[in-house]
């Protein structure tokens, strides 16, 4: 579906006409990301991150496939083959650094994309499916990133695998069997490494599939915009191409500038030196932390140190950690405000920034050792995190008096509106 004023695909070359009648793939692309897709005219730079996330996925798939040509998923040689890529393979260092920093870049971009959604109420009707698919993509990304991190079979790889698969052993009754089943053994070993490699190769393509569904779901209502007011007339929109291809192109250039700076000048800044030590099942590194993009969840996991009612601390931690993301699935129904954009919600806006600060604090604690004061700060921050979603958001959304909304996107952009003409037309 699209707006009735969307440009129509009109192939001029006979070959394209011939193709359009048999397989209208160019028409599909034209309507999806070309001049045939009308987009609100007022999108700001926060709307660049969807395209950037798609670009990161492409970086990861392309560099990942070539890395797989040189990597061997065997516990005896996995570490050595990673070093072989770094030292012997032509441009191997670049490909691996591009891939490992690409994962971080992907998460930076996706976090910006998600928090854009939080602020501008992108999850609200009629875009719930779009949002839910986005959360699915994020969960798949987390699984993919985790399994990728295990592949070099360094100390952090090994102990990361041990700890993260250990989460499943917290499940009552079936936990230990499930844990053994996932690993194909009693501790991470050959079976685990091999299956992680297989799944790490598969999942990006699953993500690609869900991304296509995500874009499909986007195109039914069309993009939201900073005012949160839906598109009313043609004057509210511009064609995606050339307007947003150009804007996204500029954003992409800025992104690539920063990404390349990381890859070329600080390739190990986000990594851990311990992962350049081969995996040793007999020795846990003194300070074991996941990659930075998992720190907030890790802090929530560690925040539970006491048994609560009949639930062991370990299970509580695991449940809370998974819930911290699963709660996003409920977001469209927890926030009941009819106003979409945070711009027009003065109270919500304050709590939004508190949530951002809270997640930063959780992240900081998650990257710190499991000692005081970080444990207590994590506990308070984790409590606030859930308070935000389950109490603050529903309460604020029902009590808050929003600011007056502009009549239309055009009015928001131009100040004066064609409101009169639109009313006359109705």
């Amino acid at each position: 579906m699209s707006f009735p004023w969307a440009n129509e695909y009109k192939p001029s070359h006979p070959t394209m006409v011939w193709l359009d009648e048999r397989l209208p793939l160019p028409r599909f692309v034209y309507n999806a990301i070309g001049a045939g897709y009308p987009v609100p005219r007022n999108l700001n730079y926060m709307w660049n991150f969807g395209v950037l996330a798609g670009f990161c996925l492409v970086i990861q798939i392309v560099t990942g496939i070539v890395l797989a040509m040189h990597y061997a998923a065997n516990t005896d040689v996995a570490f050595a083959s990673t070093e072989h890529i770094m030292r012997d393979v032509n441009w191997g260092w670049l490909l691996r650094y591009a891939h490992s920093n690409g994962a971080s870049a992907f998460f930076v971009v996706v976090y910006a994309h998600i928090f854009r959604g939080f602020y501008f109420g992108s999850y609200k009707a009629p875009r719930e499916m779009l949002w839910l698919l986005g959360v699915v993509i994020f969960l798949l990304m987390m699984a993919t990133a985790f399994m990728g991190y295990v592949l070099p079979w360094g100390q952090m790889s090994y102990w990361g695998a041990q700890v993260i698969t250990g989460l499943f052993s917290a499940i009552p009754l079936v936990g230990n069997s499930l844990h053994t089943w996932l690993l194909g053994g009693f501790a991470p070993d050959q079976a685990a490494l091999n299956r992680f490699f297989s799944l790490h190769f598969l999942l990006p393509f699953v993500i690609l599939g869900v991304v296509i569904l995500h874009i499909w779901a986007l195109h039914i209502p069309g993009s939201t915009n900073p005012t949160g007011v839906e598109v009313k007339t043609e004057s509210d929109t511009v064609p995606f191409h050339p307007y947003y291809t150009a804007k996204d192109g500029f954003g992409l250039a800025v992104f690539l500038f920063l990404y390349c700076a990381m890859v070329f000048f600080f390739p190990n800044a986000l990594g851990h030196p311990d992962n350049y030590i081969p995996a040793n099942p007999m020795q846990t590194p003194a300070h074991i932390v996941p990659e930075w993009y998992f720190w907030p969840y890790y802090a929530i996991l560690r925040a539970f140190t006491q048994d609560f009612l009949f639930i062991p601390a370990k299970l509580m931690g695991v449940l809370a950690m998974f819930s911290s993301i699963l709660v996003w699935f409920l977001l469209p129904w927890l926030d009941r405000s009819p106003v979409r954009s945070g711009h027009y919600r003065p109270v919500f806006k304050k709590f939004y920034w508190l949530l951002v600060a809270d997640v930063v604090v959780l992240g900081y604690c998650g990257g710190s050792p499991a000692a005081e004061p970080y444990v207590m700060i994590s506990q308070l921050a984790a409590l606030y995190y859930f308070l935000h979603f389950f109490v603050i958001l529903p309460v604020v959304s029902s009590l808050e008096k929003p600011l007056p909304l502009p009549f239309s996107i055009t009015e928001a952009v131009l100040g004066s509106d064609d409101a009169a003409s639109l009313t006359a037309a109705e």
């Binding site: 102990w159 041990q162 700890v163 993260i164 698969t165 250990g166 989460l167 052993s169 917290a170 053994t180 089943w181 996932l182 194909g184 053994g185 009693f186 501790a187 070993d189 079976a191 299956r195 099942p281 007999m282 020795q283 846990t284 590194p285 003194a286 300070h287 074991i288 996991l301 560690r302 539970f304 140190t305 048994d307 062991p312 601390a313 370990k314 299970l315 931690g317 499991a370 000692a371 444990v375």
Partner: protein, 171 residues
Amino acid sequence: MRRRDFIYIAATGAAGVGAAAALVPLISQMSPSADVLAEASTEIDISAIQPGQAIKAVFRKQPLFVRNLTPKEIAEADAVPVASLRDPQTLEQRTKPGKTNWLITMGVCTHLGCVPLGTAEGENKGEFGGYFCPCHGSQYDTAARIRKGPAPRNLEVPPYEFTSDTVVKIG
């Protein structure tokens, strides 16, 4: 029932059973393979371990702690009211009769599987003088029982027997 309904239910039912049957090998292949399961038992010579010392051995590719408790450590472990423990067990239940000074446990934290510290000289043994897990701060006492932190259970005691006064067969 109409003939057509019967055929419809029978056909989809048979296809469903077939699909479910096809899942069995696909799921089962993930479980530990025969070579992983082949139960290796390990013999450990404990004659060199002095009271107060501990060693880290390997059992089923996982760390195993063998600790020779001092009388003071045994007394500390016995002094704890069992009912106050998260995973109530006495030191006697965790060791062999007449060999209460030999504490043999897996070196795998029951929280998320890290190797606790406390076997080697100078390592952090935690507040209770046993083992300390650096990953998430679980603390075990001198009977390797969980006392503080997120771990739900005491360090696991593997099946073992003394084949002589100085040799233990694990597994």
